[in-house]
Symmetry: C2
Subunit: 240 residues, 2 copies
């Protein structure tokens, strides 16, 4: 009888609230030595979130890989990309969706999360992991803003990873039916150092406060009745 392989997880990390909380959760469950992080550069407007991803992985003592998939998006005019002439909208996702006629928001990067999960699956197999972990949550999907965050997408992608690796790997997305506030609540329990994370689509020293993800993040912390430690720490920086 073949022994069940030891559980080892590769977490897709972006330096934001969701994936940082997921990394913390997996470290709690498996221990840092059986958790890996993968961070992808895809041509986004700034590297601030990559620095955050690095800081979070270092905080948890987790081995991290970086990869550059920006080449594949060179034909895209998505507003999140540094070569795009489109502006990042200064509105919530709900406000944007009123104008898109059912299409994803302009910050949807073409099949980005499918590509990231596939890259994570490839890397995870090479590192002899048994699972790929993905921090997608319900608010990001809501109203089809980001179809590659939906539960239906996660189910299909999970089946593709299971089938395409001959059952060697499975996809875990524990937050897929959670709100962002649920994630922050879990992160507060876990003691995630949110002052190290970054969500804003724009770079700079402080979050802009007006892009879709800044608005979402602020609402999540407000729903938990706590101040966002990132805003506090960057405000302190400014005072210095």
């Amino acid at each position: 009888m073949s022994e069940r392989p030891r559980e080892r997880a590769l977490v897709l990390t972006s330096g934001g609230v969701d994936s940082s909380t997921l990394l913390a959760l997996k470290v709690e469950q498996l221990g840092a030595e059986d958790v890996f992080a993968l961070c992808v550069f895809y041509g986004q407007r700034h590297r601030r979130e990559l620095d955050s991803a690095r800081a979070i992985a270092r905080h948890y003592g987790v081995e991290q890989r970086f990869c550059d998939l920006s080449g594949i998006f060179s034909d895209s005019d998505c507003s999140l990309l540094e070569h795009s002439s489109e502006q990042v909208p200064r509105e919530s996702y709900a406000e944007q969706l009123e104008k898109t006629d059912g299409a994803p928001v302009s910050t949807y990067v073409p099949f980005r999360n499918g590509l990231f999960l596939s890259a994570a699956a490839a890397e995870a197999l090479s590192l002899r992991c048994t699972e790929v972990c993905y921090g997608a949550h319900h608010d990001d999907w809501a109203g089809n803003a980001y179809p590659d965050c939906s539960a239906a997408f996660v189910d299909a992608m999970g089946a593709a990873i299971e089938e395409g690796t001959g059952g060697q790997l499975h996809l875990e997305a524990p937050f897929v039916r959670w709100s962002k506030a649920d994630i922050v609540r879990e992160g507060l329990r876990l003691g995630v150092p949110y002052e190290l994370t970054w969500s804003c689509y724009n770079g700079g020293d402080r979050p802009c406060g007006t892009c879709g993800t800044c608005i979402d993040r602020a609402r999540a912390f407000a729903a938990c009745g706590v101040a966002d430690p990132l805003l506090e720490s960057t405000a302190e920086d400014e005072e210095v």
Copy 2:
């Protein structure tokens, strides 16, 4: 009522028999101006197949994109990769599978085709295509040699692409239940210039004739009762 978008296809091409035949089929169906080709370098041992992919796209007058995804496989020890110390087996897939205890063959690159299809989906959306075309066939799956060529994988990946793009894109894999001989037969009808293609896992001037894919290719042409024009053309080169 919104108009149905014009059909435009992105074909994942490797320079081999299957994807070259698929490209020919899509050009027959849609015309060259609505067909694009994507070719991926993933760190394979030679660039001969990329040259073939380029020659085939040029033959059909199809616009082609190249991308480099080799970075993601740097931790893999798959025998197809140039940095690997493993040897490419000189056996048919069936012979290899007798020794793998249900695992994929050693030339299975971790979730490679999932990654390629995700990259193709990202590129296809950017190019305003409506479908991604994939030349996987039954012989490559058989016995789980390459689980990322199975019909179950194709179905799941197709659902992931459909869901993850908000229904903007679908996956077509018309050969998934065909044998390689069926594909060659279709290619002969279409007049595919097989002398421009390349299948062998090893580089060089002539196919090695002993690796899994050389054996498969030879059987497919033999089953159709024709000589492989690639062998004839490279034999001629040698005589010169």
